[in-house]
């Protein structure tokens, strides 16, 4: 396909650079801009070498020409604090914003659960929840689509090296946003999220545990089948997403033990937590891109 939708990445850090690597392989999108705030950023230099336009003036540096450059989709891989402003600015230029920060001003999107819904709603801002949310909410949904889940809880364990300064400075955003996603997208009546950071060397691969309490006795066979189907869905864009153990049934408790190994594009393979975010963000963009390319969706200034 020669016709691709042009996209911009805001934030040339680890996430933004990994996203760039993945986006360059895409059949549906073509990265044309990398936006940073630090002229010495190695991420900006790398993007420039790869032929992208770059600026160290933040989003303002891209705004004057982004429309002419054909940018229809932007990814924000900066921080929750600056996201709202970034989003407003690019929306005004008629570009959809895919939010990889935990700002959560737009509807949540967890691709295997509600991507179609998010795209069909033509939202100009969609939020990718959190890394822990992307890894676990599909499994909460896999249980809740079989029967009612009164409580969903997830424990995400990530290696120290994969927990960046943004996550560390504002770890409460992770727990709040993930818990909210467990309810709104996962379908649990109430949600709780726990994150544990482990400094072991060599770094551990991201681990996630999902505990659901079902309203009635769990239908073991149906839940097991649903979990395996969901696993296959996630593996389509994160091949290293594996079911280590479970589902384990204990009364009304259903526990699912997962491991998430990344593709190792720019980030190391153990950082499955970051990989699943960039992969989910890209998958969301590609689905928007297909709609844009087919002419069924024309992003408009909000």
């Amino acid at each position: 396909m020669t016709n691709k939708v042009k996209v911009a990445i805001i934030g040339p850090g680890n996430i933004g650079t990994d996203l760039l690597m993945k986006a360059m392989r895409s059949e549906f999108v073509e990265p044309v801009w990398m936006v940073g705030v630090d002229a010495d950023s190695p991420g900006l230099a790398r993007a420039q070498e790869l032929g992208l336009k770059t600026t160290s003036e933040g989003v303002d540096g891209m705004l004057p020409t982004m429309k002419d450059d054909g940018v229809k989709i932007c990814f924000d891989a900066t921080s929750a604090y600056v996201h709202a402003e970034n989003s407003r600015k690019v929306n005004e230029q008629g570009a959809v914003m895919i939010d990889l920060t935990p700002a959560a001003i737009g509807p949540f999107c967890v691709p295997p659960v509600n991507l179609t819904e998010a795209v069909n709603s033509r939202a100009m801002n969609v939020n990718m929840v959190t890394c822990g949310g992307q890894a676990t909410i599909p499994m909460v949904a896999a249980v809740s689509r079989v029967q009612g889940v009164s409580y969903g809880e997830i424990v995400a364990t990530v290696s120290s090296k994969s927990a960046g300064p943004g996550t560390r400075k504002n770890i409460d955003e992770f727990t709040r946003t993930t818990a909210s996603g467990i309810e709104k997208v996962g379908g649990a009546q109430s949600g709780k999220a726990i994150i544990v950071i482990n400094p072991a060397e060599p770094p551990l691969i991201m681990r996630d545990t999902v505990h659901c309490l079902t309203v009635d006795e769990p239908n073991q066979e149906a839940i097991t089948k649903s979990v395996h189907e969901m696993l296959a869905e996630v593996q389509k864009y994160v091949p290293g997403y594996t079911l280590k153990n479970g589902p384990v049934f204990d009364g009304k408790r259903v526990s699912i033990y997962l491991e998430v190994e990344g593709l190792g594009d720019f980030l190391p393979k153990y950082a499955g937590n970051l990989d699943i975010m960039t992969a989910a963000g890209l998958r969301t963009a590609e689905m928007y891109a297909e709609e844009i390319l087919s002419g069924s969706f024309v992003p408009n200034a909000a």
């Binding site: 424990v155 560390r168 770890i171 727990t175 726990i194």
Partner: protein, 343 residues
């Protein structure tokens, strides 16, 4: 060892760390009764929350008999002299829990992270300093896992975020007195002189008293323990024993020894579901350097899947698991059981 004339603050853990061996089922009434007796005995500070701190109520760590808010409200309003603290582990609890606990009447907040991850406490320590007079404590868990220099760098971060007291926490009961001495002494030399130092021990290698004395000698002025040792693993430093030792050594604690003994004997021991003591499994925690609250989880998984709890604990130590990874235990037990052919 000459400690005579030193003054220290004792901090009882029965109603927080003691929640672990009680599977978080201590009732509000039991908490109030015990707290009032501790107030009467002159214990200056007691900790009250779920065993895993504010917001610990979960499938992963266990649902408590009452909420943190119910426990804290009930205990705080009954205290005449004793102050109440709450523990908060970022990643489990949030600043919303911190605000709630302050509203309930706590005077000390302790923000706990794994020993290498102090930077995740910035948000919570910074918020705590905005409450005038709130005693703000940073608490570095599993402090045996890194050397003194690295540990002190992490303690300094907590000091920078606004902690007026920082703790070296032997969550696994792994440390020997020399480990405590070198860590506390370096911290004392490197941190601001006005920053208080604390030590929190576990008795898994029966080193609770010896380690606490080493900490006091090296400059710690706050010592955690629990009456009758009610705490995770083989329990915390048995506080009535430590009070007696301090008394003999001329260390001032301000606590009435006989009243403390009576609480241990008459209130705490009868409440135990099992004798909290050094036994095969709790000793394994200390020897292998494993987070003490893993004990009952390992026992339950061992029973469910036909394994040895000691084998599970040793493997958890080998994998360098950290506090909060209780979910690893069933996952690991399933792997071990499959290998062994018991499932």
């Amino acid at each position: 060892m000459d400690l005579s004339g030193k003054k220290i603050t004792l901090h009882d853990m029965c109603l927080r760390d003691g929640m672990h061996p009680k599977r978080h089922q201590i009732s509000v009434e039991e908490m109030v009764t015990i707290a009032k007796a501790m107030d009467e005995a002159g214990i200056p500070l007691i900790e009250v929350t779920h065993g895993d701190g504010l917001g610990g109520a979960s499938v992963n760590y266990g649902f408590p008999a009452a909420s943190d808010e119910e426990y804290l409200t009930a205990v705080c309003k009954e205290m005449k002299n004793t102050k109440v603290s709450a523990l908060l582990l970022p990643g489990i609890g949030t600043v919303d829990h911190l605000k709630m606990a302050v509203d309930c009447g706590i005077s000390t907040i302790r923000v706990a992270t794994h020993c290498t991850e102090a930077d995740v406490s910035e948000q919570h320590l910074t918020m705590a300093t905005q409450y005038p007079g709130l005693d703000t404590v940073g608490f570095l868990m599993m402090a045996h896992m890194i050397g003194p220099e690295e540990l002190v760098q992490q303690l300094k971060l907590m000091e920078d975020f606004g902690a007026n007291c920082v703790y070296i926490t032997d969550s696994a009961g792994y440390m020997l007195p020399d480990h405590v001495t070198e860590r506390v002494a370096l911290a004392r030399a490197e941190l601001k002189p006005e920053t208080e130092l604390g030590f929190h021990g576990h008795h898994n290698m029966a080193m609770g008293i010896a380690n606490s004395l080493a900490a006091v000698e090296a400059g710690a002025t706050r010592i955690d323990g629990s009456l009758a040792g009610l705490g995770a693993g083989a329990g915390n430093t048995p506080l009535e024993v430590f009070i007696a030792v301090c008394d003999r050594m001329g260390v001032e604690t301000g606590v009435d020894l006989f009243k403390a003994m009576d609480i241990a004997e008459d209130l705490i021991v009868p409440m135990m579901d099992h004798m909290v003591r050094v036994d095969r499994d709790s000793l394994t925690l200390g020897w292998a350097g494993v987070y003490s609250s893993f004990l009952l989880f390992a026992k339950r998984s061992a029973e469910k899947y036909g394994l040895s709890s000691r084998d599970i604990l040793v493997e958890l130590g080998r994998r360098r698991t950290v506090g909060g990874q209780e979910d690893m235990i069933e996952d690991l037990a399933l792997d071990m059981a499959r290998e062994k052919g018991t499932i």
